[in-house]
């Protein structure tokens, strides 16, 4: 009876240990997927020309946090779970910020393009055309005047 009880207790301990191991493994696998998602989000922001350097620095810090979980050094948090939760929430915040940065940059680019196309280009075109037309008109008038004011003289031909 006692032997059986010990065997059941041992089995239970083994099951709990394996389950905990699997749980922590899954959590780490989730983190790797999240890192992948963060990279995709940053790349999306890159594609519209956003400056993502500070996001990349933050992602590297998260990577260090994950490394702490991996090698068990745990310098930034007290336990593996705390590290994983911290990394998860930081990645989520980073993905969110990347999306916001992408939207902001897209809007900024669109505004710049609209301003350039609809305001600066017509103004530059108008001023340039005015200057060119004024120069052309004045030059034309000057040449006209010169022709009108010309005197007809008889050229003495040398014998």
């Amino acid at each position: 009876m006692v032997k059986r009880l010990i065997a059941i207790t041992t089995d239970l301990i083994v099951i709990v240990v394996i389950s905990l191991g699997l749980l922590s493994y899954n959590a780490y696998a989730v983190l790797e997927d999240k890192v992948h998602d963060a990279l995709i989000a940053i790349r999306d922001a890159d594609s519209v020309g956003a400056d993502t350097k500070y996001l990349v620095d933050r992602l590297n810090n998260i990577l260090n946090l994950i490394k702490e979980v991996d090698d068990g050094s745990l310098k930034s948090c007290l336990s593996k779970d705390e590290c994983i939760t911290k990394a998860k929430s930081e990645i989520d915040a980073l993905i969110n910020e990347s999306r916001i940065l992408k939207e902001t940059t897209t809007n900024k680019n669109l505004n710049t393009l609209t301003m350039n196309m609809l305001v600066y280009a017509p103004i530059a075109g108008f001023i340039s055309s005015l200057v060119i037309t004024l120069l052309y008109t004045n030059l034309k008038d000057y040449l006209k005047r010169r022709i009108i004011e010309m005197e007809v003289r008889r050229v003495e031909e040398d014998d």
């Binding site: 890192v35 992948h36 990279l39 995709i40 940053i42 790349r43 890159d46 594609s47 020309g49 993502t52 350097k53 990349v56 620095d57 992602l59 590297n60 990577l63 680019n109 710049t112 393009l113 350039n116 196309m117 600066y120 280009a121 017509p122 530059a124 075109g125 108008f126 340039s128 055309s129 005015l130 060119i132 037309t133 004024l134 052309y136 008109t137």
Partner: protein
């Protein structure tokens, strides 16, 4: 001075309207073309620098002979000009002269297992500099061969199994791997902007005293 009548005449002149139309179209085209991102050469470079962060001073004594517990400090630099943030891994391998180095023609890595690896994100157009400090802590002499058994790399104790006759011509190989988001794997080769396969690695030779 131009009076208002002359100004109006100029404004409604055929020459002015034609010039205006041409110049506005031209300015708009320039503004649009300037806003379109240009295609550039895509590449990643990997360099190993000495203790002074230059391509010199690789060895503490000035000679490539490294003794037990000699502290060697190098810097690994990765420059990302791929046009987007890259997730890279640098794998360090210790080889002798006979073992296969990475193949530049087939773009395959050295078949030897790596002893150390670091992963990092590199922003577009950015250069990553990683200090690489190493020392040999255990060497075994078997006949005329010297076998490096253990090293400390960036404070991490790593097991090595590299042997060379008289401890001559060991090499530290650095292979650059790029994370491919499609396969979710780190890959040794990738396609550049001209669709040509590329891979990046370098090596530094040393002897064991």
């Amino acid at each position: 001075m131009i009076n208002s009548n002359t100004f109006l005449n100029i404004m409604w002149s055929r020459f002015f309207l034609l010039t205006l139309a041409v110049l506005i179209t031209l300015s708009m085209s320039i503004a649009y073309v300037a806003s379109v991102p240009r295609e550039h050469e895509r590449f990643i470079s990997l360099s190993t620098l000495g203790s002074n962060m230059k391509v010199s001073d690789y060895y503490p004594t000035g000679r490539p002979d490294i003794g037990l517990n000699d502290n060697v400090r190098w810097y690994i630099q990765v420059y990302n000009n791929m046009g987007s943030t890259e997730y890279i891994a640098v794998r360090v391998k210790v080889l002798n002269a006979e073992q296969d180095a990475p193949d530049d023609n087939n773009h395959t890595p050295s078949p030897v297992e790596h002893v150390y690896e670091f992963k990092h994100f590199v922003a577009k157009g950015d250069t990553l500099t990683i200090p690489f400090e190493w020392s040999i802590v255990s060497v075994l002499s078997i006949g005329n061969e010297k076998v490096i058994r253990e090293m400390i790399i960036n404070g991490e104790r790593v097991e090595v199994n590299a042997k060379a006759v008289d401890g001559k011509n060991f090499r530290m190989v650095f292979e650059l791997y790029r994370y491919n988001p499609d396969s979710k794997e780190f890959e040794f080769s990738w396609l550049d902007s001209t669709n040509t396969k590329r891979s990046v690695w370098n090596q530094i030779w040393f002897n064991v005293k």
